[in-house]
Symmetry: C2
Subunit: 326 residues, 2 copies
């Protein structure tokens, strides 16, 4: 990690610590503190600062909206974890587990409001543009989460539908983080569009890698049980592509294993699905798809008319996300 990135991460962390959350009523604000204290990689606000800096903007001006975008991300985690009934987040009990669902709903709501407030702390002549982008993204992220939930109960989900879902749920936010930094730096709308697409493609690749790591990542490195998505019957990129490519026998088995009345052990279930993935070469296909997204993303970055050294920070972050082991 280069010095600039480390410096920006330190800045973000120190500003997050300064967000006044020691307020009344405690039952509302403590879960917000808890959620923010548990860390996270702070990739999204980092993207805002890096993009602002790349386009020659004043990074100080980008800090409040960067924080706002990180708060928004944490709000989505708090509410998604209720909906997904997730017990753990960043190795700690989720808010609805540690407190209860009502707490997670309302603390999430106030976190959303706080995120709006921070995002709006930009110079007046940029306020409308930043907000239009932000609200549009919030709406899209909600749509993505809804599609994700819809897909759970749907028999058939196409690869394109899956892609659109993860684009909305996962990819538009990093794209928006980057564009927000670019807006603050006064980048041209052409460059804003390019950096948005760069972020969107990195986001898609990020989610694909997430799906891939769950099955093919090294357990000790990934730090969670291999095949968690399979055990939870998640229709991931891998599963959907296996269904589209498998023989009649393989697709039947994939569907059987994912049906409610399937009774084998979790280990056996993971083994069966992984075997099919291996037979169909799904790991390689997924890796190729990721590489293609990365390639396209870097083409967008390359098309921005700035010297390469200005782009180093963002390129490094993208590579880190691409090569991460967990």
């Amino acid at each position: 990690m280069n010095e600039q990135i480390q410096h920006f991460l330190d800045e973000i962390e120190s500003h997050i610590k300064k967000i006044p959350l020691d307020c009344e009523p405690k039952a509302l604000y403590q879960p917000v503190s808890y959620c923010l204290d548990k860390g996270g990689k702070r990739i999204r606000p980092l993207m805002t600062l890096l993009a602002c800096d790349m386009f020659g903007g004043d990074v100080k001006q980008a800090i409040p909206p960067a924080l706002g975008l990180e708060l928004f991300h944490n709000f989505t985690l708090m509410h998604d974890d209720i909906m997904d009934n997730a017990p753990l987040r960043r190795n700690h009990p989720t808010v609805h587990e540690k407190w209860d669902a009502n707490t997670a709903i309302l603390s999430g709501d106030v976190l959303f409001a706080l995120s709006c407030r921070y995002v709006s702390q930009v110079p007046g002549h940029l306020l409308r543009h930043v907000l239009d982008l932000f609200y549009q993204t919030v709406i899209e992220v909600c749509e993505g989460q809804q599609y994700d939930m819809d897909f759970e109960s749907r028999h058939k989900v196409s690869a394109n539908e899956y892609l659109e879902m993860i684009r909305l749920k996962t990819a538009v936010l990093p794209a928006t983080c980057l564009q927000t930094g670019a807006i603050i730096a006064g980048a041209t709308s052409e460059d804003q569009e390019k950096i948005y697409h760069f972020g969107e493609l990195i986001g898609l690749a990020f989610q694909l890698r997430d799906d891939w790591l769950d099955v093919f990542g090294q357990i000790e490195e990934f730090g969670k049980q291999s095949g968690g998505d399979i055990i939870a019957n998640k229709k991931t990129w891998l599963y959907i592509h296996a269904l589209e490519r498998g023989s009649e026998k393989q697709t039947r088995l994939l569907r059987d294993v994912y049906s409610d009345n399937y009774s084998a052990s979790d280990t056996e279930k993971v083994r069966l699905v992984k075997n099919i993935y291996d037979d169909l070469g799904i790991s390689g296909i997924a890796q190729n798809a990721m590489k293609a997204y990365y390639k396209q993303a870097f083409e967008y970055l390359a098309s921005i008319d700035l010297p390469d050294e200005r782009k180093e920070g963002l390129a490094q972050i993208a590579n880190y996300l691409f090569n991460r082991k967990r």
Copy 2:
């Protein structure tokens, strides 16, 4: 109801109908439509238009933020109904009952995002002011809801704590609706403050009347079971004041009746509490408190340097709220 009010209400209704909600994913947007279609009195957006008009503003400019404030109000209902486990709202099943809690969480979130978008549709030079007020109010409303939930499990709640809770949960929103209209009309900050306090006091009186009607309203007129708050062990204004004024015997009985292991029938419970209220003259005390808020509210309205006929609409709405039977 005067012609102007009817005209504004028609405007609001026709604009609400035009909000594009026939979107995908349906599972996200249908509950939003459902919630908005079930009506409501539209008092809050009406207040925005009336205030804007009173201060001589262009009412057309006030319509988008007025809609946004109504959307925000509906968002709070959707989430509060989950937290309060309410089966009915406006005589129809609540969203979490008709669908499920996850749907009500996520549709609520998107409704909140939509409300932000509408509130932000104001002339550029007013955007920051309108948003600062709005976000502050959103945060306060969340705080109010949290205090309300905290009070359920607290043994002792003082009259002042209760007032502060309803101020946050109920009164700051109408106050903000009025001030938003005033901002758009270019009212002075002094006048903005006056109209804010007018709305806040009307809001307090409104909630007191709600508490009062639940026990002393005529069943056939109020349209719901008398004493619902008592049955639900709600620490209302009436209950808290009865506790503060009752003899040792009366307060012990009030606490016993509200304890979890109290076993008499609902009718008996309501009868017992109502008897104590009657013995202590709580109905009259509550009505006097309401009147005092109204008086103070109208003093704020009177202190605004405009001819009385300009204030007629708002005065009429305030009187309607004061005299409502349900």
